[in-house]
Structures are given as C-alpha cells and as structure tokens.
C-alpha cells in the first residue's frame, strides 16, 4: 500500500494527531466493561440424574454415579448415573419395544408432530439450556445462547418436516427405518451433537440409545425431560450416561443396528474395527486439522476475523476448526500484525459473563493435552505468540495462542490440538496452498479467502475436505450436509444427504 510522506501530506495544524513513537494500538483500561453475568437463578438442575430408559428416569443397575464439574470453577454441578452393559441392554430393549409396538406403526406425519413438539419445547427453554450448557462444558454463554441452542432448535424443526417427505428425498425407492440406533457424542457441542443425532434418527422412524460425553451430560438430561414433556412414546429416545465402557457396550450390543459416532479419530478406528463383520451400519465424524487459506486478494480485515472464528470459537474445541493458517507470503506480515492486535481484544474468563469470548477448556485432561502439544511446538522450534490476558486462578483455561515459523513436519501442524492454538504457515502460489492444505490424513473442512469469484470455485473444488467455507468459517445449518473425507470420517449430517444414514432403501 502507498504510504504518505510526512512533508507532502501534513501542514503544521494537522500534526496534532501524529504519534511520536511507532504506531501501535493500545487496548487497555479506558472504559472497561463491568462484569455482566448471565443469571443462573432461573435454572432448574437436579442434584442427581438417573438413566433415561423407556420414558422414565431409572437408577443404574450398579448403583454407581459419577460427578460432572463446571470446568470454569471446578465446582460439582450434579451426579449422573454410570450405565453398565446391563443398563445398555435395558435401553436397547426399550428402544426395540418402542420401535416395534409404536414408532414404526405411526403415520410419518404423526412422527413429525412429536419432533415438532420437541423443537417447540426446546425453544421455550432456550435460555435455561444455554446456561446449563455453559456451566457444564465451559463455553461462553454468548456462544451457547446465540449459536448452540438456536441450531439445536433448528435441527429438530428441520428434521420434523422430513418425516412425511422421505419419498421425495429418495425417489424410486421404498424407504424404511433401520431400527435401533446407538449414538455416541462428544463434549464440545453437547446438546447440538445430541440434536444432530437424535433429530434425523427419530424423524426417519428409528429409535435411539444415546450416550453423551462423560464431562457434559447435563443438557442431554434436560433433553430427556423435554422428551417426557412432549409425551414422546416411551423408549423412542433413551439416554444413558457413562464413559468409555458404556460406549463400548452400545457399540457391541448385537441388536443395535446402526452406530453413529462423533469423537476422536483414534476412537473412531476402534469402533470401526469393533463393528467389522457385524453388518451394523456405521457413520463416523472424527477429527480434523483444517487449513484456512488466505490469499493476497482477500478482504483482509474480514479474513483476520475469519481466522479468529476459525480457531478461537469454542476455545478451538471444534473438529472442523481452522487450526492451520496458510497465508500467502506477500501479506503474511500484515495479517499477523492484525491478528496480534485482534487477539488483544479477546476476553478470556468466566464463561457465564456475557462479554467473555474465550471460555474454559472442557477438562483437566484436555488442558494437559493442549499444554503438551504447545510445548512440542516450542521444542521443535516454532515461535510462540500468546495473548497476555489474565488467566483466572481456578478452572481450566488456556490463552489464545498462535505459532509462526511452522512447517508441515511439526507436530503442531499435523496433530489435532483441540484447543485455542493456531499454527501458521506461508505459501507463495495457489498450487502450493492446495498441496499443503491436502497434505494431511484428515479431511473435514477448509477455508478459502479471496475476493476473486473464479478463484473461490477453483480452490474449493480442489480441497479434499467435506466442508469448504469461502470468505467465512464455522457456519452450520441443518439444511447443509456436514462430514469429512479421509480420516475425518464418513457419512454426512444435515441436509438431504444426512438422511441417508437413517433409512433403509430398497
């Protein structure tokens, strides 16, 4: 960009606003925001939850419970049941009964009406659900309130409308449900992942046994209550809480006909092996290490915003996070300077504060993983840049971080960190960007930033990724199919394509 020479551009009277030192923005304490806590007092939480099986909350057969904790404060929120193989079997039986006796016999439009009811009830309880989600998982209230919960509601509405229209989605086929589906979901978007799984499954006529992640069971329990309030036929939705063993019991249960899993690639491979030879249908939505590619002709300020959204949204706990920045070398300096300034205005802290941008890391375990990988980045020679924001003394927090001088061979360029940590690499030409972007075992998502339309279509067509965002990032909609290539998994969720996993076609 052209720079204006002092002696040509300014006359004496204009010097008033000239800075003496090197230009730098100061984001300090002029006009600080006061705490703006979201109120908790309207939230109804039990101290202990049973398993939701056959339309009721029941005690676990082992009598064992475990705690779920608020990662921002380390306080215990509630106890949830630990389901063993016998509990899972009871859930599957309840699901089978419901399927055979009731759900598969309902007219599709009537099924749809139940799903509409669930959507409506979730809408009515939006704020309470958002607060519980934030307390249980650590994400900022402004995200659970403005992104997670609205999308949850939208997913149920969207799929309710498909129940009586499946013949149009699959013309020239006879469409039928599969039966009992086992679903295992992660802790990063607890209620949303439950919606992504349950809504299409039951709209298509299946019944489900779902296990939420062990660190984030509470919104699933709230969803169970909603199913009760909607008078959903008992056993259509069953929710069993527990950890790895509970999940294994679901995967291995002989009469579960379809498994849907969202989580790490490592566990996805375990599940894929476990279902081999069983005839079970399987969809997997696994990890990612997405490239966010910024070309020199990108709208730069919005591209920087796209970097922030790509990696610091939900503390980077996003499978499709833009965790690798590929920036064209000619604009790298200016992009990184803007990125540094932008990070200085990210507010880290109490997730229930409406002004918090970066919340808590979901668990101590995850925090340790992030620290380990960040240490490897430093050790392998990349240059670390971190926000100097104050870190609360309690709770699990990690400051927004980015590494420069990263090469493809660094661990931080290949392994999924699942935290607010960005790895920055440069490229010179479009071909080089494409090559670097695709040169990983993952393939979930990618971002492309350029003002040139034809370049968008060319680059996006070359990305080996299931979701490609052009001039935006982390956008989701129930009507838009989501899922990965390669080791990011197979199958799609959302849209017409997402229905495929939940029907039998003949």
């Amino acid at each position: 960009m052209a720079s204006v020479k002092e002696e040509e551009a300014s006359k004496a009277r204009a010097i008033r606003h000239v800075a003496a030192e090197k230009p730098a923005l100061e984001f300090g304490s002029a006009w600080e925001y006061s705490p703006a806590p979201e109120s908790r007092d309207h939230v109804r939480l039990e101290s202990r939850y049973g398993l939701f099986i056959g339309g009721k909350f029941v005690a676990p057969k082992s009598g064992k419970y475990f705690e779920t904790v608020n990662p921002a404060t380390e306080e215990t929120l509630a106890e949830v049941a630990d389901a063993n193989a016998a509990d899972v079997d009871a859930a599957v039986r309840a699901a089978e009964d419901a399927y055979r006796k009731r759900w598969s016999r309902l007219k599709p439009a009537e099924r749809g009406k139940y799903v509409y009811r669930i959507a409506r009830l979730l809408q009515e309880k939006s704020r309470e659900l958002a607060v519980i989600e934030t307390m249980d998982g650590g994400k900022p209230i402004k995200e659970s309130r403005d992104v997670d919960v609205p999308l949850v509601v939208a997913h149920f509405f969207y799929h309710a409308g498909w129940a009586d229209k499946l013949d149009w989605a699959f013309p020239r086929h006879t469409v039928s449900p599969i039966g009992v589906c086992g679903q295992i979901i992660p802790w990063n978007f607890p209620l949303l992942m439950a919606a992504w799984k349950i809504a299409p499954a039951i709209a298509c006529g299946n019944t489900v046994v779902l296990k939420p992640a062990e660190t984030t069971p509470l919104t699933a329990m709230a969803l169970a209550k909603v199913c009760e309030e909607a008078d959903l036929p008992p056993g259509v939705v069953n929710i069993v809480t527990g950890a790895g063993e509970t999940g294994a019991a679901i995967v291995n249960h002989p009469r579960v006909k379809k498994i849907a899993f969202t989580g790490s690639t490592d566990v996805g491979k375990i599940i894929q092996r476990a279902t081999a030879g069983t005839g079970k249908r399987l969809t997997l939505e696994l990890g990612g290490k997405a490239a966010n590619i910024i070309f020199e002709d990108a709208p730069i300020d919005q591209a920087v915003e796209g970097i922030i959204n790509g990696i610091y949204f939900n503390q980077g706990h996003v499978c499709c996070a833009g965790s690798r920045l590929l920036v064209q070398e000619s604009i790298a300096d200016i992009v990184l300077a803007k990125l540094s300034d932008r990070i200085a205005t990210l507010r880290l802290g109490d997730p229930l504060d409406k002004n918090t941008d970066v919340g808590a890391i979901n668990s101590k375990m995850q925090l340790d993983k992030i620290r380990e990988l960040v240490a490897s980045g430093v050790e392998e020679g990349a240059e670390i840049h971190q926000s100097s924001c104050p870190i609360p003394s309690k709770g699990y927090f990690f400051p927004p971080t980015f590494f420069t001088g990263v090469a493809q061979s660094h661990r931080i360029a290949r392994e999924e960190i699942f935290g607010p940590v960005l790895s920055v690499m440069t490229f010179r030409t479009p071909d080089e960007a494409v090559e670097k972007a695709n040169n990983i075992p993952y393939g979930l998502s990618a971002g492309v930033w350029t003002d040139k339309g034809s370049k968008i279509f060319k680059i996006t067509s070359k990305m080996r990724a299931g979701v490609v965002w052009a001039n935006t990032f982390n956008k989701f909609d129930p009507a838009s199919p989501f899922g990965g290539y390669k080791e990011s998994g197979f199958g799609r969720e959302g849209g017409v394509h997402g229905l495929r996993a939940y029907v039998e076609l003949s």
């Binding site: 960009m1 052209a2 720079s3 204006v4 020479k5 002092e6 040509e8 551009a9 300014s10 006359k11 009277r13 204009a14 008033r16 606003h17 000239v18 800075a19 090197k22 230009p23 923005l25 100061e26 984001f27 300090g28 304490s29 002029a30 006009w31 600080e32 925001y33 006061s34 705490p35 703006a36 402004k142 403005d146 002709d297 990108a298 709208p299 730069i300 300020d301 919005q302 915003e305 796209g306 300077a337 205005t345 409406k354 002004n355 003002d451 001039n471 935006t472």
Partner: protein, 303 residues
C-alpha cells in the same frame, strides 16, 4: 484539473466482504454494557456529542436554546459533562459562538454546499471561509459524490485539499455520505481518499438521507482509519451521524471504537457522535441507572 500532492491509487484500497463486516459489527453489538461501564459509557458518549440543528427553519432562538442544552444537558446536574460541539449552518455560527463563549463546547459548521455539494468550488470555499471567519472551530464538508461514483477521484481529492486550506486553524471533517456510496468497498475507498488529502475526521453522513451511520459502515471506516494510522502514524478521527437515536446505539458505537482502534480513540478529540434526539435517551438511561426506575420523556428537556 489541479495537480494533487500525490495520485490516489484506488485499486490498492483493500476490499471489504459485506457479510463478514456486518457479522463483526453485529457481534460487537452484543457486548453487555452494564452498571459502572454503562454509566461511564453514557457520560463518555454525551461528551462526544455534536448536537446538531440543520433545518431550513433554524433561527437565533432555536440555536441559543440548543446551546444551553449543549452546555448543561441535565438541568441541575453538573456531573453530566457538556457535549463536544454544536453543529449549525454558516449563518448561525456567530450566534452559536456567542452563546457558547467560555463553555468549552466547540462550534462546528457545515460548509461546501452542504448537503448536496453540487455547487462550484468557489462557492464551497466562500461558505467555508465565511464560517471560519464567524468563529467556527470545525468545518464539516461534503465530498462530491457524483464525481466519486463516476471515478473522478482527482476532483474529489482536489476539493478536499482546497477546503482544508481554507479552514485555516479549524479542523476539517469530511462527510462521505455513505448512503449514496452504497457499497462498503466505496466507503473504504472514500475513507482512504479523504484521509490522504487532508481530513482530520471522516464522517458518515449529512443526516439528510437513509441509510446513514449503520454499524457496518462505521466499522469499515474505523478499519480504514486503523490502516492509515499504521502507514502514516497519523490518528484521524471518526464521526457517525444520522439515525442514532438510542443509548444502545451510542454504546454500540463506543464498543466498535474501543475494540477496533483501542484506548487512544475514546476521546472527543478523535470520536464524535452527530445526533440530537439521542441526548435525552442517554440522560434517561443515566437516571435509570442511578434511581433503578424506568424514566419518562416528560422529565427531560426538549430544546
């Protein structure tokens, strides 16, 4: 055609993605400003107001009453600061100057054939000089939008240079009239042009048409100011004007400034709000914060 100190490179102005800028501007509107921050923000906003009257029926009586409000917005409450300036047509400058003498409130005058700006340069320079001689501390000029939209950047730029010269010691605000420029790319380009050729402040609108100071437009201009600062070391001020009616909007503007440009711009020297009716909403919100009660317009003066 006058020769400019340096040519304007329109093609090197960064592009703006409309969806992205609006999302960011809206996201900043979700900041929750409460309690002490709200009180401080409202007082800051009041101190940044350019109370404006620009009607054909403006008279001495109207202007004097507005100036009283400018000096003491809340009767009997000296803790509420005076506003930054009063903005009037050139014929009313002397009256405003007299009414505001010794108060610290500045006198701003529109000029350059405001609001359309479609008169010869000589007429624009005449009314600028008239206003300055009558005592205006600040001049709010309009750019020639017809020339800009037909690509005649030299004409637009040379007028700014000439009017800046005619301003003398008065500071110059350049009004882009963003509602007529329509696209964010144009707003970004016009911002850069205005700053390059002498603007002390860039201003969104005349207030005579809609849309005026939308959050997206304000953010584009703040980003243009940011880039200009990094290239030249010069801090240019910004003034949104038109359509700002509520405290919520005013606080949103302050958030946009704070999180785009930082602390240095949170001062009336570098940020102004061109409005009038918003004053009472600011006062009502301030009173509500202090008393805990929602307020009625009956208790706040309309001058």
């Amino acid at each position: 055609m006058s020769s400019l100190p340096l040519p304007f490179e329109a093609e090197r102005v960064p592009r703006v993605d409309a969806v992205g800028i609006e999302e960011r501007a809206a996201a900043l509107g979700k900041r929750s400003i409460k309690k002490a921050a709200k009180v401080a923000g409202i007082k800051l906003a009041i101190s940044m107001l350019d109370l404006t009257t620009l009607e054909g029926k403006d008279s001495e009586g109207k202007v004097r009453q507005l100036c009283r409000k400018a000096i003491r917005p809340q009767p009997g409450d000296p803790s509420v600061p005076h506003v930054a300036a009063v903005c009037v047509y050139p014929n009313l400058v002397a009256i405003a100057k007299d009414a505001l003498a010794g108060s610290g409130v500045k006198v701003a005058s529109v000029a350059s054939g405001f609001p359309a700006g479609l008169v010869p340069l000589s007429a624009k320079l005449d009314d600028t000089r008239l206003a300055v001689e009558a005592g205006a501390d600040e001049i709010d000029m309009v750019i020639d939008r017809g020339a800009f939209l037909s690509g005649d950047y030299e004409k637009v730029a040379s007028e700014i240079v000439a009017i800046k010269d005619a301003c003398g010691d008065a500071h110059l605000k350049v009004i882009l009239e963003t509602g007529e420029l329509e696209t964010y790319d144009n707003v970004r380009k016009a911002s850069r042009l205005a700053m390059t050729y002498g603007a002390d402040f860039i201003k969104t609108s005349t207030g005579k048409i809609n849309p005026a100071a939308t959050p997206g437009v304000v953010l584009v201009m703040l980003e243009a100011i940011r880039d200009f600062y990094f290239e030249t070391g010069r801090r240019i001020g910004m003034k949104p004007a038109g359509g700002i009616k509520t405290s919520k909007q005013a606080l949103h503007l302050l958030v946009l400034v704070k999180e785009t440009l930082g602390d240095a711009w949170l001062t009336p020297d570098l940020f102004r709000i061109g409005a009038s009716t918003v004053t009472n909403d600011l006062l009502m919100q301030l009173t509500k914060e202090a008393s805990g009660r929602y307020q009625s317009e009956d208790y706040f003066t309309k001058d």
